[in-house]
Symmetry: C2
Subunit: 207 residues, 2 copies
DNA sequence: CAACTAAACGGACTTTACCCCGTTTATATT
DNA sequence: AATATAAACGGGGTAAAGTCCGTTTAGTTG
């Protein structure tokens, strides 16, 4: 009489066809992105070009922004590996302050490089980089703990710093860029500001 | 023979009917907002309920988000007056550090109060509070100049601080709120973080 | 290998933002 | 007051996002 409630735990791995289609959609999306820019990646066009139904596209990504988030996550994964096991000062091996500065600079650069995708990955309800923000916070906290300046509430300061880093990034990502060159200038400026902030805080000492 | 190129300078003040309709649309929008929430304020519905054509609505506000931005700006104007000539510590009369902290807290509170509108006022291309960010930066710079801590590059620090304040706000505005209570908790936390940051910086002294 | 089931698929349908352009009207000029 | 003109108006038209639900299929079980 017992129903085959069998695995009952996780939702039973992705089906093979589903995976194939997901990968295909991602690939096609990247193609279209490179060819015509994000604004021409429409759900209909994507579905058609991938030879799939529109329903499928929505099932996979939920929303238009979802596609761009997925695209961005692929890149973010590569970035993360540089942080975790790349060469210093971004990776392990340098001092905490150095790494903190390097991390901010790298993250700013990362978003600048993927500006179009990141921007397209926002919709009015949900901030794109939500997940990555957590990653940032954790990393910062780790570095603060390692640094032996007398910070009492590491957790709180990490939250504050990640906000100070990610917030402006979001602002930067979501602001209309002056067409043309203003882009790298903006990133450069943010990076310098971040470095200033970190140095200033390390100088301030314990509460 | 000379064409009546007459005024040639500014674009010749808003026509009376235009103004009347703009005000009417704003009022109706606010009504609908209070009744059903932002997601039900559609352009068609708004036009119909205001007894105007759809084209008119778009002419006035350019885009859906434009309506919410306009709504928000009305409120922002009131807020600004409190800052410029209200009671201390937000208004004039308190010390720079106090005012800076009060300003951040007030601004956070302001956005928390107008969360729904602010969020609806974002579209994928443009961050809503762009204009107000400038206001923030100017105000901060003014306070920093008045404070006689030895900051060399007031302009730079002001930019940094406004980013540190507005960025997290944006993050907060655009993040999906946990339904129910998480709202005020989040704002409170941000406000405390801001205060910490300011105090820490004032302690750090000159570069 | 045959039956079964949950997941994936497709594409018509609905909703909504936004465009276009012919028509109307406020305001300035004489 | 008559005329001219630039601006405002209206609402049908288009395109794209997102939903629904009947159909198909991968993977599993006996």
């Amino acid at each position: 009489m017992d129903r085959p409630v069998v695995p009952l735990g996780r939702p039973r791995a992705e089906r093979a066809d589903a995976k194939r289609n997901r990968l295909r959609l991602l690939a096609v999306a990247r193609e279209m992105l490179d060819e015509c820019g994000p604004e021409h990646v429409t759900m209909d066009a994507l579905a058609e070009r991938a030879g799939l139904g529109k329903g499928t596209v929505f099932r996979r990504f939920g929303t238009r922004a979802g596609i761009f988030k997925a695209l961005l996550e692929e890149e973010a994964h590569r970035f993360q590996e540089l942080v975790l096991s790349g060469p210093p000062p971004l990776g392990p091996g340098a001092g905490p302050a150095e790494r903190l500065i390097a991390y901010g600079r790298a993250r700013i650069g990362f978003l600048a490089d993927n500006l179009a995708v990141a921007r397209a990955g926002m919709d009015r309800d949900i901030a794109a980089p939500a997940v990555e923000v957590d990653m940032t916070r954790l990393h910062i906290r780790m570095l603060l703990n390692r640094a032996d300046i007398g910070v009492r509430d590491t957790e709180g300061l990490a939250l504050q710093l990640s906000a100070a880093l990610e917030g402006p990034l979001l602002l930067y990502v979501s602001s209309p860029r002056a067409p043309g060159d203003a882009r790298d200038g903006g990133a450069e400026r943010l990076a310098d500001a971040w470095q200033d902030l970190v140095e200033r805080l390390f100088r301030a000492g314990p509460k």
